[in-house]
């Protein structure tokens, strides 16, 4: 009988944890940001673009400082090798070694897809932290990738956010978004990001393999695979200069 009551209390507490998290929605967003952002970050990743006609993979090495500065060098395939991309705040430059030219990506070019992928340059320019940019509410609990999740609705605090609404599935233990749906102002679903695999790097859970899908575009989406990632590495400030594009 005693065991039965203890079990009931245990079940009740467990179900309370599912329906009413101990953390508030903004705190969950803060934890997600903490998990994903780092002062300095060095990664090697590959993008597999599943187009309507063919599939191709691009490998790249990225140096990232905070949310506003990044430098990417393409490693393969041979056609893209040596291309470099520099992002400083809201500015983006691309260097093509074959033409020995640095091109600033602005205006309508930002809307174009990055090398045929489902990501546009605008997507790459997104650099706001979720807890700063969005007002969140927890809608329900769900399971994704066999992990218990909170399904949260995010409303932009300011009208200048690229996506005014997001729906995110947040792992309740690891504080990582396992699935995201990005909506237009009209409520039309624009993009979906789904984790396929996450991994533990030091004390953080980080995406290992994810699928980025532009819903309006035909194709199977773009798969991103993180090969290696190092947090808090030393990156010389000169890495984030236009001069470094030609080096």
């Amino acid at each position: 009988m005693k065991f039965f009551f203890l079990s009931m209390i245990g079940i009740a507490l467990h179900s309370m944890a599912w329906t009413a998290p101990l953390l508030s929605a903004p705190e969950i967003l803060f934890k997600i940001d903490q998990n994903l952002t780092s002062a300095n970050l060095l990664s090697v990743s590959s993008f597999t673009i599943h187009g309507s006609r063919s599939t191709r993979t691009i490998k790249a090495k990225s140096w990232i400082q905070g949310a506003h500065r990044s430098f990417t060098e393409y490693l393969s395939p041979p056609r893209e090798k040596g291309n470099k991309m520099l992002k400083l705040d809201d500015n983006l430059w691309i260097y093509y070694p074959n033409a020995d030219r640095v091109i600033k990506i602005a205006g309508h070019m930002l809307r174009q897809s990055v090398m045929g992928s489902d990501l546009s340059y605008e997507d790459m320019m997104e650099n706001n932290k979720l807890h700063e940019a969005y007002q969140a509410t927890i809608q329900k609990t769900d399971t994704f990738l066999d992990r218990p999740c909170w399904v949260m609705s995010l409303q932009a605090k300011q009208p200048d956010q690229a996506y005014s609404t997001r729906k995110v599935w947040v792992d309740q233990e690891r504080f990582i978004t396992l699935k995201q749906e990005l909506f237009a102002k009209s409520g039309k679903l624009l993009k979906r990001v789904e984790m396929r695999e996450v991994f533990l790097v030091k004390d953080r859970w980080y995406p290992k393999r994810l699928l980025f899908k532009d819903i309006l575009k035909k194709g199977e989406g773009t798969e991103v695979l993180i090969h290696t990632i190092e947090f808090d590495v030393d990156i010389p400030p000169s890495r984030f200069s236009k001069a470094s594009l030609r080096r």
């Binding site: 205006g107 309508h108 009208p159 690229a162 996506y163 309006l216």
Partner: protein, 389 residues
């Protein structure tokens, strides 16, 4: 009159040589008139089409607007000035960059907001008043755009754009009409949408990027935010294009003229050399050296008159037919970006005929006089004995 009769008889007496020279010269006439007529027709055709579908009677542009710089589009709009809010005399147009997904392919385009009620441009904007399926926005596109993106009337296409604040927004567009225009600048890579819808979509009420005027009338004084562009300014690129085509054709005219003039010069030089005795006899009979020079020059010029008559005989019907009916243009001409439509109608004016005739005759006179001027030194007694000058 005697000289003219004599020159005509001598020219006719030369037989095949005269007619061969005349035919070559007539070809030159026909070719120069035809090419010039085509260039004039091309210019007028493009200008007419651009005024009707694109330019109106002049335009006011937002100071930052540059149609050749897509980077300028996002910021180059502002509320309409009060003095330009006359729907009878002005058509405000708002230009917004966007992305559409025809058949799942991502394509950069521009959305152009225009009032469906406007009557200044000949675009069929009233079709934007047609009802579209619920939840969609009616748009019209040009035939080239429809062909390039494989879209047709009744199709819907997803579109994404950014509001004035920078947030993404997206909706489905219903294509309510596909229009035909000779002007690519109103067709390729753009969708026409009711102005109020577009202003609401990007949250810029009463904004415009440029304003088309009914008449070429500068309503506002030149001010910082809105710049007046006259038709002369707006058509400058078309004028330059046609002028460059004219300039490139000058080489062809020059080669043809050179060939024709060489033939005439050769004929005249040979004629002067071989007709010593005849010319000496004329001088002995009382014709002064200057009259003899005039005779030879006149004979040369007669080739020009005969060539003009011959050109009229076989070229006239060709000019008349082309001037009335034109000729079909190969579809590939579109790739050059010319607003020419399906048929090219050359324009032949009296000035063109007169100018061409006058120019050719001037060259002929010089070319004929050149070998003849030596005759002035000829002594009749020497000429009769067959001696040279």
């Amino acid at each position: 009159m005697l000289l003219v009769r004599l020159a005509f008889k001598n020219t006719m007496a030369a037989g095949v040589r005269t007619w061969l020279n005349t035919f070559i010269l007539s070809l030159t006439f026909v070719f120069i008139i035809l090419i010039n007529g085509i260039h004039t027709g091309m210019y007028l055709q493009i200008v007419r089409a651009r005024i009707a579908d694109e330019l109106g009677g002049g335009q006011y542009w937002h100071a930052d607007y540059d149609p050749f710089d897509p980077f300028s589009l996002e910021e180059s709009h502002a509320p309409l000035p009060l003095s330009l809010q006359n729907s009878e005399k002005t058509v405000p147009i708002l230009v917004v960059p966007a992305t559409i997904y025809p058949h799942g392919q991502m394509q950069s385009v521009v959305l152009k907001g225009i009032s469906p009620e406007q009557s200044i441009l000949q675009l069929p904007t009233s079709s934007l008043k047609r009802s579209a399926p619920a939840g969609t926005i009616p748009v019209m596109i040009g035939m080239r755009m429809a062909r390039d993106f494989q879209l047709s009337e009744g199709d819907t296409v997803a579109a994404r754009w950014r509001t004035h604040d920078g947030a993404f927004d997206a909706m489905d567009f219903a294509i309510v009409s596909v229009f035909k225009s000779d002007v690519q600048a109103v067709d390729q890579g753009q969708l026409w949408i009711p102005l109020e819808n577009l202003q609401r979509m990007v949250q810029t009420p009463n904004h415009a990027t440029f304003i088309v005027l009914r008449d070429e009338l500068q309503i506002l004084p030149q001010e910082a935010s809105w710049q007046f562009h006259s038709l002369e300014d707006l058509l400058a690129d078309t004028r330059l294009l046609v002028e460059s085509k004219r300039a490139s054709a000058v080489w062809l005219y020059a080669i043809l003229m050179l060939l024709a003039m060489l033939a005439i010069f050769d004929t005249q030089a040979l004629s002067v050399f071989r007709r010593h005795k005849e010319l000496g006899t004329l001088m002995a009979l009382g014709l002064t050296p200057s009259k003899v020079v005039q005779l030879i020059t006149l004979e040369g010029c007669l080739h020009g008159i005969l060539a003009a008559i011959l050109a009229t005989v076989y070229g006239g019907p060709v000019f008349w037919y082309l001037g009335a009916e034109g000729y079909p243009i190969p579809v590939d001409t579109e790739q050059f970006g010319l607003a020419l439509g399906e048929r090219m109608v050359p324009v032949f004016s009296v000035g063109l005929f007169a100018g061409t005739f006058g120019t050719v005759m001037l060259f002929l006179a010089v070319i004929s006089y050149w070998p003849a001027r030596k005759i002035a030194k000829l002594q009749p007694s020497d000429a009769l004995r067959g001696r040279s000058y």
